[in-house]
């Protein structure tokens, strides 16, 4: 799924997908009323959507809108299990090499044309077409054969078993009859999309707003909320002012907004706040090509010296949990029984002494062979949370005699000059991910070339083996064993010091009912949200 793809984003902490619901909701009276149609839902986007053809866009504004306009063959349900969407059901062959999708027969494109398996085949061909500038071909290039069996049956075959395959079919299906034999980048659909989803595109007022309206012939029934308006408001503080004045019905809050700035009677009267773990974590990564960090004891010592709860309290104001590995603590893949690094400076000193780091010249900084223990944390500009995290770590490491410098660099320069050439000591970054546990690209030793994701240069034959088997295994229990072991090794070796998993903190106008927080967050059942008739605010 586009917005669940592992992808580094500046705002990764505020992704609206996650779990562990602790709703801050005062149940409203009359909730039992029957859902009715009407009203408008207004939300804001920091940036203008780039392109409403999902094959071409990778920004979050576009994928939010595309998520309402298009459907995939499958999707994640409230409990993050894959269920059918345009596909009614599917069969996986005994050798795990092919998947046969049985499509719904009651689906129409927004222009009235019938949806068939030809659209699915066309979408697949478009993604692998070398002339289409998409960043998402990889999953589809694994397919060795795609075939239309009949109007409503579609079969894909893979060369080797590929466990993330099913998830890749959550990709939006594009309309063949409108895109065939055209240059995709010049298609008018990129500004006026036609999909099969619950909402139809109405208008796009460049730089200002984008309007969608309920699809009255949606195959799961017309959604209750009549219109969805995306306002383009680039400044987060302006968004917050708009929210308070009633110009927005939804916004992801920052920790300080959630805890103090919205703690007013008028805000509580008009909004419900929710909190759940986001699909992302922040880490301190060590450049393993540097001799200093090749000693496991040094990395463990630093992990012991950092107080993760202090980071969560200080940086996230308590809205987060300690990360122990790459998976979110409430997912089936999470292994709770791995080595944990409670704050323990004595343990740090002991490990560093074992590794040969001693304060021989009594200047307060450890040294070895005449070299003081000093390194730089580099992180990207524009993410205040990361800079603050670096400062707290700096102070904690000073306590055990390590001198830390901090550099904050503009994003493109950060990647080009520091991360990809391996020109860094340590870095604070985050990964966002989805429910699919495959971490091959981040941890496999074959992915250490320049510009690849294992830029810390982690190499462990057992991890390689586990990752290879993991992505070829379909059985969930078997996969759980594989990824549990993978997490144990990471926890022991600490190639990253895993820091924290932040929470998504959305606020929704109180008149919207039918919101049921679940592991997938709150937006998964948007089609079922409604506003009782007397409370409807926008009549047109």
């Amino acid at each position: 799924m586009r917005n669940l793809i592992l992808n580094l984003t500046l705002l990764c902490l505020f992704l609206s997908a996650g779990c562990e619901q602790q709703p801050d909701v005062i149940p409203a009276e009359g909730d039992e009323a029957k859902p009715v149609r009407g009203d408008t839902f207004i939300e804001a986007s920091i940036g203008e959507p780039s392109n409403l053809l999902p094959v071409l866009s990778s920004d979050s504004a576009s994928s939010d809108i595309n998520g309402l306009v298009y459907n995939g063959l499958v999707k994640y349900d409230k409990n993050l299990q894959l269920v059918g969407e345009l596909a009614e059901s599917w069969d996986v062959s005994d050798d795990n090499l092919s998947i046969t999708f049985h499509l719904r027969k009651d689906v129409h494109w927004h222009d009235g044309t019938q949806f068939t398996s030809a659209d699915v085949l066309f979408t697949y061909q478009m993604y692998i077409d070398p002339d289409v500038p998409t960043a998402y071909a990889e999953d589809f290039l694994q397919v060795s054969n795609a075939k239309v069996i009949d109007e409503y049956t579609f079969r894909v075959t893979y060369e080797k078993p590929y466990a993330p395959a099913l998830e890749s079919w959550a990709t939006a299906i594009h309309p063949k009859h409108l895109l065939e034999n055209q240059e995709i980048t010049k298609s008018p659909l990129s500004r006026a999309p036609v999909g099969t989803g619950p909402y139809k595109f109405v208008e796009w007022d460049a730089g200002e707003k984008l309007v969608l309206e309920a699809n009255e012939s949606y195959f799961r029934g017309q959604p209750y909320i009549s219109r969805v308006v995306y306002r383009i408001i680039p400044d987060p503080s302006t968004q917050f002012l708009e929210l308070r004045s009633g110009g927005l019905d939804f916004m992801g809050l920052t920790p300080i907004q959630y805890s103090t700035q919205t703690d007013t009677p008028s805000f509580k009267r008009n909004f419900n706040k929710y909190r759940y773990l986001a699909f992302s974590y922040t880490y301190l990564g060590y450049n393993l090509k540097k001799p200093v960090f090749q000693d496991k004891r040094v990395r463990q010592a630093i992990s012991y010296a950092i107080d993760k709860q202090e980071l969560i309290d200080g940086v996230l104001l308590g809205f987060g949990q300690i990360a122990t590995g790459p998976y979110k603590p409430d997912l089936w893949t999470y292994n709770a029984n791995v080595k944990r690094y409670q704050h323990n400076p004595d343990m740090s000193r002991k490990l560093l002494t074992e590794a040969g780091w001693l304060d021989n010249n009594a200047d307060g900084i450890l040294d070895k062979n005449g070299q003081p223990f000093s390194f730089t944390i580099v992180t990207n500009q524009g993410n205040d949370l990361r800079a603050k995290t670096a400062e707290i770590i700096q102070r904690r490491l000073k306590e055990i005699g390590i001198d830390v410098k901090i550099r904050v660099v503009e994003w493109a320069t950060f990647l080009k000059e520091f991360i990809f050439p391996g020109n860094f000591d340590t870095t604070i970054l985050g990964w966002s991910g989805g429910p699919e546990p495959d971490q091959y690209n981040i941890w496999h030793s074959s992915k250490t070339a320049p510009r690849e994701l294992n830029f810390i240069g982690y190499r462990n034959p057992e991890v390689d083996q586990l990752l290879e088997t993991g992505r070829r295994t379909f059985d969930q229990e078997r996969r759980k064993e594989i990824y549990d072991r993978f997490q144990e090794i990471l926890a022991e070796e600490q190639p990253y010091t895993f820091l924290y998993v932040g929470e998504a903190l959305p606020a929704v106008a109180k008149r919207f009912r039918g919101i049921e927080p679940a592991p997938a967050g709150i937006r998964y059942n948007f089609e079922e949200w409604y506003v009782p008739k007397p409370e409807q605010k926008y009549t047109r």
């Binding site: 680039p234 002012l241 308070r244």
Partner: protein, 324 residues
């Protein structure tokens, strides 16, 4: 005159090419490429795909080839296609943003002129009076105050607490259902705060400039003559002195022509106004070369044209220059 004009216009061509060449090189020297945003740290993008994308945008070719291709297209008035994911023609993206940027800038210049000219005159005429001193403090307050901070304060007090003004954007959500009069009012209502904030910061420069011009003119002999003739003080100041003091304003207006299409990123971001400043800033952040070059070329042309216009109108307005 015609010869002079022709010469000036022909001289602009090598100047323009120079500007574009330098801009082109500088932008390409910045680390990062347009394709990076889509492919960097994206596990679903392979090395092969990255090359495919680079090839598509000619990024695999040497810089002089890229510049040559760009220049050839430019001569045919083709600004190219944006490298961002919307792949729209650059010209279309710029034209879409121009009207609102120009509108706000023109309004704010009008407000600045309407307020700072009287302030300047009165401060000069009543030099060192209480009025002079208090307006000085006022206009420098505007100059010193960060506009984003003022904007946020006004939005919070006038928008959220008192509910007098809309906070951001250009129109209400239900704008299309309003009648014509209400639509106009809706625009005006939304433009009040942005125009005030952008004008407030510009008052200081202009009113001080006006004040010193006026002081200069009042000291001239012809003012003494006018007074000696027994003209009323009003006639002396508003007829004889003001006309001469306004002359240098023409130069300033000419120089502000390129400023008309340049927006301010911070200001536009805060008020959620889709203007040129934000377009350019986003273009730079995404290394959208054709868009950056398009905005720069238009800006350069306008600067050169603005200078030319200032010179011409100065000559028209001031006989001393015309004859000299």
């Amino acid at each position: 005159m015609i010869n002079y004009l022709l010469k000036r216009i022909i001289m602009m061509i090598p100047l323009l090419i120079g500007i574009t060449l330098i801009s082109f090189v500088v932008i390409h020297l910045a680390p990062g490429e347009p394709t990076d945003l889509q492919t960097d740290l994206n596990p679903k993008a392979s090395a092969e795909m990255r090359e495919r994308l680079r090839e598509r945008y000619d990024l695999d070719k040497p810089m002089y080839v890229q510049y040559g291709k760009w220049l050839v297209r430019l001569i045919q008035f083709d600004f190219g296609e944006s490298f961002s994911q919307d792949h729209r023609p650059v010209l279309e993206k710029i034209i879409e943003r121009l009207p609102i940027t120009i509108l706000i800038n023109v309004l704010s210049i009008l407000v600045i002129l309407a307020v700072s000219i009287p302030i300047g005159i009165l401060s000069a005429v009543r030099r060192n009076s209480l009025f002079d001193r208090s307006t000085t403090v006022f206009v420098f307050l505007g100059f010193a105050m960060p506009s984003f901070w003022l904007a946020l304060l006004l939005m919070d007090y006038l928008g959220v607490r008192l509910g007098l003004f809309p906070i951001a954007g250009l129109k209400d959500i239900g704008h299309e259902y309003y009648n014509f009069g209400r639509q106009i009012w809706d625009y005006v209502h939304h433009l009040c705060l942005p125009v005030f904030v952008s004008a407030f910061g510009g008052l200081a420069g202009f009113s001080r400039y006006m004040r010193s011009n006026m002081l200069e003119v009042i000291r001239q002999d012809y003012i003494l003559t006018a007074r000696a003739k027994g003209l009323s003080e009003t006639q002396v100041i508003y007829k004889h002195a003001l006309r001469n003091a306004l002359l240098p304003v023409i130069t300033i207006l000419g120089l502000s022509v390129p400023g008309l299409i340049g927006g301010s990123v911070i200001f536009e971001t805060i008020f959620a106004i889709p203007g040129m400043g934000k377009l350019f800033y986003d273009g730079v952040m995404m290394r959208d070369y054709p868009l950056i070059m398009g905005v720069l070329v238009i800006g350069a042309v306008l600067t050169l044209v603005g200078n030319l216009l200032a010179d011409i109108s100065y000559a028209l307005a001031d006989p001393r220059i015309r004859r000299g």
